[in-house]
Each structure stands twice: as C-alpha cells, then as structure tokens.
Symmetry: C2
Subunit: 224 residues, 2 copies
Amino acid sequence: MTDAERALPLRERKKLRTRQALADTALRLFLDKGFHETTLDELVDAVEVSKRTFFRMYPSKEDVAMAAELELWDAHVAEAEARELHGPVLDFLRETLIAAVTGLGADWDRRFLATRGLIARTPALWDRSLLLSVTVQSRLVTDLEIKLGINSREDVRLRLLGELSLAAWRCAAKNWISGRGYQGPREPMRKLGQWKGPGGSAELIRRVEEAFDAIPDSLTLTAG
Amino acid sequence: MTDAERALPLRERKKLRTRQALADTALRLFLDKGFHETTLDELVDAVEVSKRTFFRMYPSKEDVAMAAELELWDAHVAEAEARELHGPVLDFLRETLIAAVTGLGADWDRRFLATRGLIARTPALWDRSLLLSVTVQSRLVTDLEIKLGINSREDVRLRLLGELSLAAWRCAAKNWISGRGYQGPREPMRKLGQWKGPGGSAELIRRVEEAFDAIPDSLTLTAG
DNA sequence: CCCTTGGCGCCACTCAGTGGCAGATTAGCC
DNA sequence: GGCTAATCTGCCACTGAGTGGCGCCAAGGG
C-alpha cells in the first residue's frame, strides 16, 4: 500500500487520505453513537471536509460505513479476473472468495468485524450491505456468462449458482458474527481482544467452507 | 373481496379505499412521468389526502409502487401456512409460490406486469423490490426452521434452500419481463393487449417452473 | 513563472420522512 | 337519539440526506 501510495500523484494521495479518514471516522462515530444518531454534518465536521466533498467520495451515508465490505468485493472481483476459469464453476466462486478474504490483511478483519457488528444492529445498513453484495455478484456472473458464452435468458444455471454462492457467504458471515455474540458497540475490549489477529478471519473462512459444503445436501432437504 | 369489504367496519373500509387509491394513482403517475419525476406532494394532491396520511398507509414512496408485489408475497406466505409440510422442502416452496401466483386474479397480473416494467427501469425500485422479497423469504424460512426444528447456526441447509428458491423466482420474473420486451410506459395498448388475460401469468408460471427445473443441473455447471 | 485543470468549499435548494397538535369522524354505550 | 372516548385525519413546522452551481485555490505541465 505504501509503495502504491508513493507512486501516486500528490493530488490522488490526498484524495485517498480523506477517503480513508472519512471511512475510519464514520465507523468510529457510528459505533459510538449509532448510525442514525450521527448526522453527516457531524462526520464532515470531524474530518474537516465539506459535505459536498463527502458525496464526491461516497454515494451515500450508508456506503461510507461499509468501506471494509467494499474492499472485500473488490478483492473478490480482482481474484476472479486474475484466476483462470476451469472445472466446476461453484468451486471457482468459492475459491476466489476464500482467496479474497485471505488476501486482505489483519487490519482488514478487525475493521470488517466492527462493520458487521454495526450492520447487524442497523437495519438500514443491513439493507445496503445486501444490495451491495447482490450488485457485485451480478456483475461477476455477467462476466462469467460472457466468458462461458451463456445467455441467462435461455440458461439460468449460472445465475442460480451465483445466488447460491452469495447465499453461502451471507450465512457464513451471519453465523460468524452471531457466533461471536457481538451485540453492540459497548461490548468491553476484553471480548474484542478475542477477535483480533488471524483467529478472526480464520474462523470466518471456516464458516464459509462449512456453508459451501452444505450446498449439495440442501437440495434434498426433506420434511418428516 | 366485496364480501370481505362489507364485513369490515366503515372506518376500515375507507382506509382500504384510500390505500387502493394511493396504489393505483401512484402506479399511474409513476408510469406516466417516471418515479423520481413524481413527487409525493403531487401524488397526495391527486388522491386528495395529506402527506401524513400517506405515511400512515405506506412506509415509503417506493413501497406504494409495489403494492402488487406485496400482494404476491402475502399470498405466498398464506399459502405456506395453509399447506402442510411434507416431502422435499424445495418442492414445498416451489408449489406454494406457484399456487400464490395462480390464486391472484387476472387484474393482479395486469398490475403486476406494469409494476415490474416500472421496476425494471427504476433502480431505486429494483433495490426495494429485492429487499422486500428477501425479507419475506427470510420470514418464511424462519417459520419453516421452527417447524422442522432446525437451527440455522448449526445447519444452514434450509437457509440456502430459501435463497435458492428466491433466486429462481427472480430469474423467472426477470426473463418474463425482458421476454416481453417491455421498455417503458409509452408502449402502445396493442402490446398490453397481448399480455392481458391468463396468458400473462401462465407465461410467468412457465418461467418459474423452468427456473426451478434448472436448479439441480446448476450445481454441477462446469467450465471447459 | 504562468496558465490550465481538477478538486474543494460554500450556499441555496429540493424533497422524503417525522413529530405534535387541533379538529373531525366513528364506535360503543346508555 | 345523544354523549363520551377512542381513532383517524389534516396541517404545519422541522430534520436531514442529497444535488446544482459557482468562485477559489492548489497541483501539474510547459
């Protein structure tokens, strides 16, 4: 990151720094006071930029809270573009997702955990998070459709597969958070300590594997 | 409907009528001028109620545009509660969904088609529609989990199944609309004529069956 | 050193959505 | 039918997110 930063022109570096500052401060404020209880004016005052600048960086108040999640999806897309596609497509999606999670640093999973906790207790953010993931996944599938020469009007299989892989991710993320018993921002740091380090994303990856493994059996699920 | 209406107290009947009037007028205005180009004040003026009353009927501007879609989900939930659960759960979800579509009248599929057309060219409505469907489906799955004694923390299969069935629905609805070549509100009535009657929802049901049928094969989809 | 270009701050504005209160309308009861 | 109490509605003022426009300042390039 520092290398990439140095290579960028001064103007871009400044932009990136305010972007970062906005995301960090937003997460801090939202965790501290709650999402709806924090106004954009407060955030913008704290970072000392104008509201106009904020909207040049992020399209909405919701999006700035989910910067960590956006990083994940960017990584996922990058991973999918880099890797070459052969074998079962579901495995491809699974592996590129795992690779994305693995590739992001230890600092990321701290921020991501905090973000997910905030999302879990803020319906408006949950909504936006869902929407973001669906949008990204749809883009991903569209790319794959082109590569495979599939037309979703005639063959919906890939579309379904994409949704399924996203569903697995959502189950995994949900169980990851609820398994941690994260309830709110006022949880003592003692518990936060447990989450830190590689354990956080290692556990997340375990949950993802678990969810993907459950896919074949889910189809045949039968009631009494 | 008329029977049920007559049974209701006067106050409730009036309430229902304004609800209906709001939904009808909203759809007409949105189709005519576009969603963002129509303000709530205009809608509220046209129906001759106050803005305050509007928000007592619908939680948001988006929701009033999707009254027909809400009817579908209500029917789906009712169908799932009425029917008893045995055999493959995926079939249960599939059959209750089909039954819901079938059960709603010919007037419904006219309104639903118009609604979907509007949604297709209005991102904000597409977002809300997705959110609505996910919410309903999540409620449905939670109920089923209780009936089956499944804990989604340990067993994510049902959760995955719910998402998969919803995905099939979304593919079906999408292809149904795009297959009709619906582009905007200015399409001549000649084309609208083709959609009318049982053919509209019959085609929709065909698309749904098609999508559900594609599920087993989607898992094994493999690239070159 | 100057000129161009791209951000940025500031201001005024729109519009969705909310809270509060006064007035009307209905339901239930005598 | 008349009275009271519970609802519902309309009106008004207000918050806060998001946008458009313009002047300005700082950065890149010669």
